[in-house]
Symmetry: C2
Subunit: 318 residues, 2 copies
């Protein structure tokens, strides 16, 4: 696995994905004395970068595999990404979701024509349900990040960013399972080798930082971070890429994540989910020194439950 | 006043304003069987199209007038627009705001270096305070829409849109004081004469529709619409332009405005204020027939108080 895989992924998916816009903020640049570019994957199809990897992976399945159908477990963006990619390619997708998953995410996934199977809200039930269905229906598992084709797809976001804007001094991406960070690092080190690649995880979900220090994977234990996309632990594949290509991992507090999100909403007028705001949180809290530098931030997604806000609004409507 | 004024305004302000992006939604286009383009003035400086007109008007003041300073009354986007334009041009701005105006708007306006003077929350106090200050300090009044230079500036948004995307069948803009709609109609009728221009106002703030039917201006009486930017009444200048250039005025209910806003937030991941969502409300509620047509919608701004939402989020943070 190398940069070549990301380039090929881009050629494969380029006409199907959204070429997402790159945004800047005068206020932020003058506040931080820096040149900061946001790669807005909240504007990607299904509202998150996950569609890149899902579509890349599914489009690489052979005719026989496509007939078998695919399965994944996720209550988040990966579920919707697999569901939409499968629907475009005419593949049947089965998504395992925990009972009590947000109704808007269930509906969005159903809306793409996927079949949803509920499990109990714990790892054991999820694993059991998934394995039983794979066995019973001969399905192909699409892991959300421990998969080279998924990582290649994820890497196409920064590939687009660098192709559009040119060289960077620093590239910053959120770090959950590590798929996005791995793909980002591989592409960046090829396209601008002098750029630093930094991963950011919530302080209360710092399994990657701990793992790097220990030299082996220390899984997270269901951290209650607001950045719900970053609760998961890194995998063997992503751990290896991070060790090889990532220069630094920094952590941010929950309150700084909300602050960063608020900046993006209030000042830049874009809806970014907590996981997507984590790189900006690192910049705003000066965990990364950006002065006089050119920085690229991957805004990974924009899927957040807006029901509470609109409940308030609707109540006040005549 | 003609299209030439809008073209000249664009040449004057083009390097200072944001060239705002044009966005589309696959979901919406397939739902409405139409080709719908949003001109995203929520990404304009100060978060609204108002900056175009304010900067155009202030940059046309002569040296002597610039020394005098400017004044306006607004608790909304026009206040921030005048404050920022004045700050860029080195002009002292005084903004009259009603006591109890939202603290975020007060702070934003102050942040641009404007002087804020509070009045009581009624027309009489506002007029009195404004007139006294004009008299006392020899200030120049910058009316939010009853001003040709403001209207020319507002017209540059659709000018950019048509230059980028080409001809349209229909152009839809919100209708409050009528400045944006006037500028939009003048530019559209010159650039694609066959396009229909439609203004949309809240059903409970339908002073323009009533005025058109009556043939004279019937002012609105402080309608309590959620679209706070559209509470104001049209003026002599805008009434004349609307009669001359606008093909149709439609109205939308409050709940449809919230629905449209929610679509923009949830599906398109952009923050749009209620007034900016009004054209989409007209489309979603089929007040405008769009099937198989190419439609341009002006999203006028994105300034809305997010405090209630972030209060909920911050409460849940560890």
């Amino acid at each position: 696995m190398s940069f070549q895989g990301i380039k090929e992924a881009y050629n494969r998916i380029g006409n199907i994905i959204n070429k997402t816009p790159v945004m800047t903020s005068r206020t932020l640049n003058s506040l931080m004395i820096a040149e900061i570019y946001f790669k807005c994957e909240n504007f990607q199809r299904v509202g998150a970068f996950k569609f890149r990897g899902a579509y890349n992976t599914l489009s690489l399945l052979c005719k026989e595999e496509r007939k078998q159908g695919v399965i994944t477990h996720s209550s988040g963006n990966h579920a919707q990404a697999v569901a939409l990619a499968a629907s475009i390619l005419g593949i049947q997708a089965t998504i395992i979701m925990p009972k009590g998953a947000p109704i808007n995410k269930i509906n969005a996934t159903k809306g793409y024509g996927a079949k949803i199977v509920f499990c109990d809200n714990n790892l054991k039930s999820r694993t059991k349900t998934t394995e039983e269905l794979i066995e019973k229906n001969n399905l192909i598992l699409i892991h959300p990040f421990d998969n080279y084709n998924i990582i290649n797809g994820a890497g196409t976001a920064v590939y687009e960013l660098i192709n559009e804007i040119g060289n960077f001094d620093i590239i910053i991406a959120p770090l959950g399972g590590g798929g996005l960070l791995s793909g980002t690092a591989i592409a960046t080190k090829e396209l601008c080798p002098d750029a630093q690649v930094i991963g950011v995880e919530p302080s209360i979900a710092d399994d990657a930082l701990k793992s790097l220090k220990a030299g082996y994977i220390i899984p997270s234990t269901y951290p209650d971070t607001i950045a719900d996309g970053l609760r998961t632990s890194i995998s063997e594949k992503t751990f290896n890429f991070i060790r090889k290509y990532v220069d630094q991992i920094v952590t941010v507090s929950e309150i700084k994540i909300v602050e960063a999100m608020r900046f993006l909403w209030e000042r830049m007028k874009i809806i970014v989910e907590p996981s997507g705001a984590v790189p900006l949180a690192a910049v705003l809290s000066k965990k990364v020194s950006v002065e006089n530098k050119k920085i690229g931030l991957i805004l990974s997604g924009g899927n957040i439950d807006l029901e509470p806000f609109f409940q308030i609004l609707e109540k006040n409507v005549v």
